[in-house]
């Protein structure tokens, strides 16, 4: 869905670089392809470097109008791919980087990533009798990108395609690297009924677990403030990956979410007009 909305926004003059991830398998086996734009398959950790090379080649050929997009999962972005991403953003080429976040290494069978949220079950944080669910908080890629002084970074969600498309089009007019952190649930990995995929995405934003916001040259703007904020308890109800959490932990997680939301609101306030 992320790929579909992204290409809708950016159009056919686009090349997408995809590392080893769910999306490398999505098109199918040779000789099948599923996009009407070129898709470059690369090694796992290289997306930032790959799009740097593509941009350099296209610019040298005078083709500055080709959109170059790096499209990687949370593993290939926040973990093994973070070096290449950081190097790329620091250099500042005119490219898009889309991180579709299903909150674990889903392609290889639901192993934890740094983007896995606190409390989640994965095969490498398998709870068990020692209660080894993921303890450390989700790595905040948006903060990391903003720390690089990136011209534009935004979160987006599959539940709000119009918002995603609008942000992409806005980003297209900006020169330099543009980063998108897109919420993309995995029913299998989250132990979620597949038909609830879009609904859970809405709930994530309403629970302030995944706020929709953009940062343009350090200025924060929250795109959607939930009219009625729902609790983490409500959010986790449909997801088997949180089923094991005792009430005390749920309370701690709720406090964490509330704190992050407060910080985000304050950031929006104090960066106004900067």
């Amino acid at each position: 869905m992320v790929m579909r909305y992204m290409l809708k926004a950016l159009g056919p003059k686009t090349t997408v670089s995809v590392p080893a991830c769910c999306w490398a398998v999505m098109p199918g086996v040779f000789p099948l392809k599923c996009l009407d734009v070129p898709m470059l398959y690369t090694a796992f950790e290289v997306t930032g470097a790959s799009i740097s090379g593509l941009r350099a080649a296209y610019d040298k050929q005078g083709k500055e109008d080709i959109n170059v997009v790096g499209f990687a999962g949370d593993g290939g972005t926040a973990d093994i791919g973070i070096q290449a991403l950081s190097g790329m953003v620091e250099r500042g080429p005119n490219v898009f980087y889309i991180m579709y976040d299903n909150e674990a290494y889903m392609n290889t069978g639901i192993q934890r990533s740094s983007a896995t949220p606190v409390g989640a079950w994965t095969t490498t944080t398998p709870v068990g009798s020692r209660l080894d669910w993921k303890r450390r908080p989700k790595k905040n890629m948006m903060d990391i990108m903003v720390a690089h002084k990136i011209p534009y970074a935004a979160t987006a969600s599959i539940a709000y395609p119009e918002d995603f498309i609008k942000k992409l089009k806005k980003a297209q007019a900006i020169k330099g690297p543009k980063f998108f952190h897109v919420y993309a649930p995995c029913p299998t990995g989250w132990r979620l009924a597949p038909d609830k995929t879009v609904e859970i995405s809405r709930m994530a934003t309403d629970a302030c677990v995944f706020p929709l916001y953009e940062v343009e040259n350090g200025v924060y703007k929250i795109n959607r403030k939930p009219a009625k904020k729902i609790s983490f308890m409500d959010y986790m109800a449909m997801q088997g990956r949180f089923r094991h959490l005792p009430a005390s932990v749920v309370e701690e997680i709720q406090k964490g979410i509330d704190r992050e939301w407060e910080i985000l609101l304050k950031r929006e306030a104090f960066t106004q007009g900067l």
């Binding site: 056919p12 003059k13 686009t14 090349t15 670089s17 490398a24 398998v25 098109p27 199918g28 086996v29 040779f30 000789p31 099948l32 392809k33 996009l35 009407d36 734009v37 070129p38 898709m39 470059l40 398959y41 690369t42 090694a43 950790e45 290289v46 930032g48 470097a49 790959s50 799009i51 740097s52 090379g53 593509l54 350099a56 080649a57 296209y58 610019d59 040298k60 050929q61 080709i66 070096q83 290449a84 950081s86 190097g87 620091e90 250099r91």
Partner: protein, 394 residues
């Protein structure tokens, strides 16, 4: 044509310049840093019309070169030792993706222990990657081979990457007189990079590098093997064409020096060949008939030339500046492998020498030559490490 007295590093930079590299992505590492610096300065001065990407690691350098090449740009990088080792995954990717990237590799020892000095362990460790490997004896050869490497690699039926290898400090930092060919002459010799497949939305909206099931993967790998086999003839051909255009030849895949009537030949690669040739001349004055076979191309492995040599000489000493633990020196093992199915089997001994930059002086080489001359006399060790304190022997 301009004659300059320049280091091996600068020769590599000038090679990339006259070959009109479009995209250069490189990360500094001793002793390659001057290549990167010189190229950055050429671009900044407007002497070289290329995009220079200041990548954050060698792995990313190779990646950027690969994707740029897949988009149709001629790309170049340079590295050494640990940088090359870090790139290993992407070296295999470059060959599998059939991108004719050219890279200058400064042969430097691998750590630990840390060492910055010359040895071939880094490039030898990449022999399975599918890259062509050219070992150079002089700075002129470095520059010339870079031009040749693009020509050979970019042919549509080859499309394979190549590394142009030179010894750390002995070439990289030593100045020699080098002819920098005229840009027009190079343009006439080396056409623009024009790959059949390129990642381009308007013309080729395809998937590049997808998943292949077991029932077709072997065919793709076979295609690489077939292309690499083609390169033997291409290397010889391009060496001849280069001589016709620029007046310099390097002997194709192996350069033979006074081997025709030799009683013993040392087979080796890199700058040690220069010293060996001098020692051979001195020894011949004293009546000892020795020769030098300088391995210029290690990949593709020059079977035919090796077999011809085996038919002509009674003893070959093979000097490896690297060692495959649990096995032997790479050159020796491959030469012996090439000769297994051959009728002619000269006496062969593997000399492991010069590792970690241990100096290969004329005295040491003379000892090795003398040892090689005696190989036919009776039983001898198959492998000998030269100069290791406490081992005895050479």
């Amino acid at each position: 044509m301009v004659k300059k007295v320049i280091t091996g590093n600068y020769s590599a930079a000038y090679g990339a310049k006259v070959a009109r590299a479009d995209v250069i992505a490189a990360y500094p590492i001793t002793p390659q840093t001057q290549i990167v610096e010189k190229l950055a300065s050429m671009v900044a001065e407007g002497e070289l019309d290329a995009t220079f990407i200041n990548v954050e690691s060698e792995h990313s350098a190779m990646t950027a070169c690969i994707s740029a090449s897949q988009a149709g740009a001629r790309s170049f990088t340079a590295t050494s030792s640990h940088g090359l080792l870090l790139m290993h995954e992407m070296l295999i990717w470059a060959a599998g993706a059939r991108t004719p990237v050219v890279m200058a590799n400064i042969n430097r020892a691998n750590g630990p222990p840390w060492s910055v000095w010359a040895d071939q362990g880094d490039s030898i460790a990449q022999r399975d990657t599918g890259w062509m490997q050219f070992y150079c004896e002089s700075n002129q050869e470095v520059l010339d081979t870079m031009i040749q490497a693009y020509k050979i690699g970019e042919a549509r039926d080859v499309m394979l990457p190549a590394m142009v290898v030179m010894d750390a400090f002995i070439l990289s930092h030593t100045s020699e007189p080098v002819d920098i060919p005229d840009q027009e002459m190079v343009d006439g010799f080396l056409p623009k990079f024009d790959p059949e497949y390129r990642v381009a939305p308007e013309t080729q909206p395809y998937g590049f590098g997808s998943l292949v099931m077991p029932d077709w993967y072997m065919e793709f790998r076979y295609k690489i093997a077939e292309a690499m086999d083609l390169t033997r003839e291409r290397i010889r051909k391009v060496d001849k064409e280069f001589e016709e255009t620029f007046g310099r030849s390097y002997g194709g895949l192996i350069e033979f020096y006074k081997c025709e009537d030799a009683d013993a030949v040392l087979l080796l690669a890199g700058t040690v060949a220069s010293t060996a040739k001098e020692v051979a001349d001195e020894m011949r004055k004293k009546g000892k008939k020795v020769g030098v076979a300088r391995l210029r191309s290690f990949r593709p492995f020059p079977y035919e030339e090796v077999r011809k040599l085996a038919a002509a000489v009674p003893a070959i000493g093979i000097l490896d500046k690297s060692f495959t633990f649990g096995y032997g020196g790479a050159f020796a093992c491959e030469v012996q492998g090439a000769l297994y199915h051959c009728r002619d089997k000269p006496a062969i001994k593997n000399y492991i020498a010069g590792i970690g930059g241990r100096d290969l002086t004329p005295e040491v080489l003379e000892k090795i030559f003398n040892d090689a001359l005696n190989l036919r006399k009776g039983k001898h060790a198959e492998i000998e490490w030269v100069g290791v304190r406490g081992l005895g022997g050479l």
